[in-house]
Symmetry: C2
Subunit: 201 residues, 2 copies
DNA sequence: AAAAAAAGTGAACATAAATTCACAAAATGA
DNA sequence: TCATTTTGTGAATTTATGTTCACTTTTTTT
């Protein structure tokens, strides 16, 4: 008779898969991609290295999924902000501030995912992700130009600039030196102002 | 009697060192750090791999020098622009445009230097370089605020944002798809406008 | 020209990390 | 419980490169 997975088994497998993704994510958040070797992920997930390959065909595919999962979440939040019923400049500022706030909140992987380098497969995925972020801002920009709130401009370039601006401004602060709450708030405000002004809002 | 290098020999050694640096730079420009292995550098320089280690203690140190050399050149150009006798917003725009123009002319090198991943030693050097770029813009910003041309703002954050903005806006265009001259000119203009507006100029 | 020192060589070595695989353990169905 | 299938294991394998070193060639000095 054929082997049939029980519901319980099915669940445990899904659980393992999830644990692997979560462990990988945590490793990246803590030490960047550099320290997230397959063996380390396995150990963190409480599994053996071989087992990882029962769930993912390669390290690259595992990390592509780690990346896209995290970014999906982030994009969802930003999309919600972008669709609010408010002036474009307000939505733009809120979206930027929202991202930056989370990035500054502890050892978030936002930066590692957006800026840290990896092997070509993951790199390709990352470029797509950055584009996704850009698209959120592009949407807001187009709306703002339509409503006359912003001057006409190259929305693709401006969107990329916005993503780059807040990303780079986070590089320093995200590093070793942890800032206090007031400093963080000030930084968020500075970046927000920069981005809104930049598009003529 | 002790061995003394002749002037000719001295020159040849210096020449070799230079050839190694140039070969390494070219390899990075063509295929990124990924394809710039020590053996490849040696071959491109017309030397053996072992010889590389007579001139540089490690691959990392070689590439740190490749990086800093290229950046020094770039910084010099930007510094000259920053010190011109002109309105701050004009200097800011000129500096940004100057960088972007060159990056678009030699795409891969720019990408490799700006965005491509490397080992920690080189990464550390790159972060310092980005800071150097930021400092150029910070200088301009401070001058602009002093003269009342720009509103008061967080110059560190704004400088980082500027560097990030034009960098990110270059990542896409720098990729496989090469743009025509008109597109490039338009992109440069878009980025320039973005950055000037961003600081309230 | 011979001896001594330095520079050049590239195959061999070291290392690190991804991937595989023969086997063990666990789950399923009869 | 036994046979079958799936899942888990981790040591061994593979691969890719940085680095070394015993040896050769070149340069310098006497």
């Amino acid at each position: 008779m054929a082997y049939r997975r029980s519901a319980l088994m099915e669940e445990r497998l899904a659980d393992n898969r999830d644990r692997i993704l979560l462990a990988a994510r945590k490793l990246v958040a803590d030490g960047g991609f550099r320290e997230a070797q397959v063996a380390a992920v396995a150990a963190a997930a409480g599994l053996s290295t071989g087992t990882i390959y029962r769930y993912f065909p390669s390290k690259a595919e595992l990390f592509v999924e780690v990346l896209t999962r995290a970014v999906e979440q982030e994009i969802q939040i930003l999309d919600e902000i972008a669709q609010r019923d408010a002036p474009a400049s307000e939505r733009l500022g809120a979206a930027v501030a929202s991202f930056v706030r989370r990035a500054l909140a502890g050892p978030n992987l936002a930066y590692a995912f957006i800026a840290e380098p990896v092997d070509p497969e993951v790199e390709a995925a990352r470029i797509l992700c950055r584009k996704q972020f850009g698209d959120v801002f592009k949407t807001i920009l187009i709306a703002g130009i339509d409503s006359g709130e912003f001057p006409t401009q190259d929305c693709d370039a401006a969107a990329a600039c916005i993503v780059g601006a807040y990303t780079e401004a986070l590089v320093g602060p995200i590093g070793p030196a942890t800032r206090n709450t007031r400093d963080k708030a000030r930084l968020i405000e500075s970046i927000r102002t920069f981005c809104i002004r930049a598009v003529g809002g």
